[in-house]
Amino acid sequence: MQELLQYFFSGITNGAIYAIIALGFSMLYNATGLINFAQGEFVMLGALGLITFWRGLELPLPVAFVATVAGVSLVGLVLERLAIRSVRKPHPIVLIIITVGASILLRGVGMLQWGKDAHSAPSFSRLSSFELAGATLLPQTLWILGSLLLIVLGLQFFYKKTLTGKAMQACAISKRAASLLGIPSERMVLLAFALSSAMGGVGGILIAPITMSSYDMGTMLGLKGFCAAMLGGLGSSWGSIVGGLLLGILEAFGVGFVSSSLRDAIAFILLLLILYVRPTGILGAKAVQRF
């Protein structure tokens, strides 16, 4: 029983991170219909950026947090402005190759900047881990879950209550109709890129204290975030959370009961299954064009 609870805690910790990455995928997909294969690299930039700002430059944590998120969203902005908008034929295969190229480029830059070694960051708070019903709970888990909640509530507020959020949803429904109504749809796409890369950055910042961060961590996390988004239903915020937590928990139990070498395979097998069996995901209501 204790064991089960321990797996569960470690599952929701990782799962919440996957959920945050999945929210980034979903948000961009909603606004532009695009899947950004470089999303995982924003996570890597977030984790390593935080380590540089916080540990390297010894800025206070909140300042380092803001600086990292700003930096990562700037990278997202530049990517959209220079690479995505310049595309003449927005055929999926072209956009896939461009975002895959961006992901490899960022990975290479990460390697040049931070080297091939893994880096680590201390926990955000000085609290030591405490016990809950016999299983240990890391304070970082609470930080991660709290941030996830804040992001989701913030997103809901943004979509439902602000004019910009509503405008972005209008662009998602029909770009043309939105621009006829005077919504600057190009700026909305830019904003969506900035927000979704910022979310990737936040995911990286939160994961930095509980894992070793290195230049090549992004591909794996990006794929898992995508898997979580597909599991819950791409485009749905609540779906991303359900998918992320579910993936995290399944992974933790797989590692605990079967073998730790299976850890990374679980996400991919799940991804392939979901793509074949139910591509709309668990909570994806609308039949998205996937076949």
Binding site: S86, P92, I93, I96, S103, G108, L271
Partner: protein, 327 residues
């Protein structure tokens, strides 16, 4: 007309074969000979992916998996079971075809981004398999002692023997692909590339054809893996990871989508580049990333095709400058 085309293509292959023989005879430095042999292996890889990406318009971000299946199957057969290498080749190609067929059936129902993510995922699964199935694959430390190939009493070590073998296979692959491309099947593939629905409406069995070309391109990759394993006689999972899949895609992108001879160019550029630039290993990913992005933004048909287009536009502008100066 058809006869003329045939004669042209025969001439082309005669010239190509002649230049291979001359190169093999002229280059004596074993290092360069090995480099050229690698170009041949990569050409087979790029050619296979080009059939899938360039002609049928279906992306694969996990092609290193098939390359790895080819290499590991023949390695396991020859090292663990002491099979002769040529039997290992048959097993490798057969196994790859079966696996590719089973994967393709559900996978190719996906399109666009989902196909990209799906192939990326299965590439990762096979990389994990190569790394974790230590009893068979040797895990991260790899498999050593893969025997060299031999034909009869003639052993093909690294050197001109292997060079001729690989390039002979390249010529055969070129002929196969060119014949496919210029056939009814090739036209159907290009129709799928332009519009799958329109192709289906014209009576093309699109799903069967896509599975078929996926299997073909996987078998090409497996063949390249076989040649690689017996050339270097040592394989480890790192030769088949994600960045290798990206390298193959980059070759196709440089060479040009739907360009058979472009595969040769893409493979040559990506083999010579690290050799010329000694700092390349640090900048490898940055260079690949930039190539992929820049080529796709400005020349979405790939580098060679894009250059040809620019040349042709310039020529037609030059030949009638008075009519339309804007082009």
């Amino acid at each position: 007309m058809r006869g003329l085309e045939n004669r042209n293509s025969h001439m082309k292959y005669a010239l190509f074969s002649l230049s291979i023989v001359l190169t093999g005879w002229w280059v004596s430095n074993p290092y360069y000979l090995q480099l050229l042999t690698f170009i041949g292996i990569y050409t087979v890889l790029a050619l296979g992916l080009n059939m899938l990406m360039g002609y049928a318009g279906q992306i694969s971000l996990g092609h290193a998996a098939f390359y790895g299946i080819g290499a590991y199957t023949t390695a396991i057969a020859t090292v663990h079971w002491n099979w002769p290498p040529w039997l290992g080749l048959l097993l490798a190609l057969g196994l790859t075809a079966v696996i590719a067929f089973l994967i393709a059936l559900p996978m190719l129902k996906l399109t666009g981004y989902y196909l990209g993510m799906g192939t990326l995922g299965f590439g990762m699964i096979f990389y994990i398999l190569f790394r974790e199935w230590t009893g068979f694959t040797g895990g991260t430390s790899g498999l050593v002692g893969i025997p060299p190939l031999s034909i009869g009493a003639l052993t093909l070590d690294t050197g001109s023997g292997y060079f001729y073998l690989v390039w002979g296979i390249v010529v055969v692959c070129f002929v196969i692909c060119e014949r496919i491309v210029n056939s009814r099947v090739g036209r159907a593939l290009r129709a799928i590339h332009d519009s799958e629905r329109a192709a289906a409406a014209m009576g093309v069995d699109t799903s069967r054809l896509k599975v078929w070309v996926f299997v073909l391109s996987a078998v090409f990759a497996s063949l390249a893996g076989f040649l690689y394993a017996h050339l270097v006689t040592f394989i480890s999972p790192d030769s088949f990871d994600f960045i290798v899949s990206i390298r193959i895609v980059t070759m196709v992108v440089i060479g040009g989508m739907a360009s058979i001879w472009g595969s040769l160019l893409g493979a040559s550029v990506l083999t010579f580049l690290p050799d010329w630039l000694h700092v390349f290993s640090d900048y490898e990913m940055v260079v690949y990333g930039l190539i992929l992005m820049v080529v796709m933004i400005f020349l979405p048909q790939g580098f060679t095709r894009g250059m040809l287009d620019i040349y042709e536009r310039a020529r037609s502008r030059y030949s009638r400058p008075s009519t339309s100066p804007q082009g």
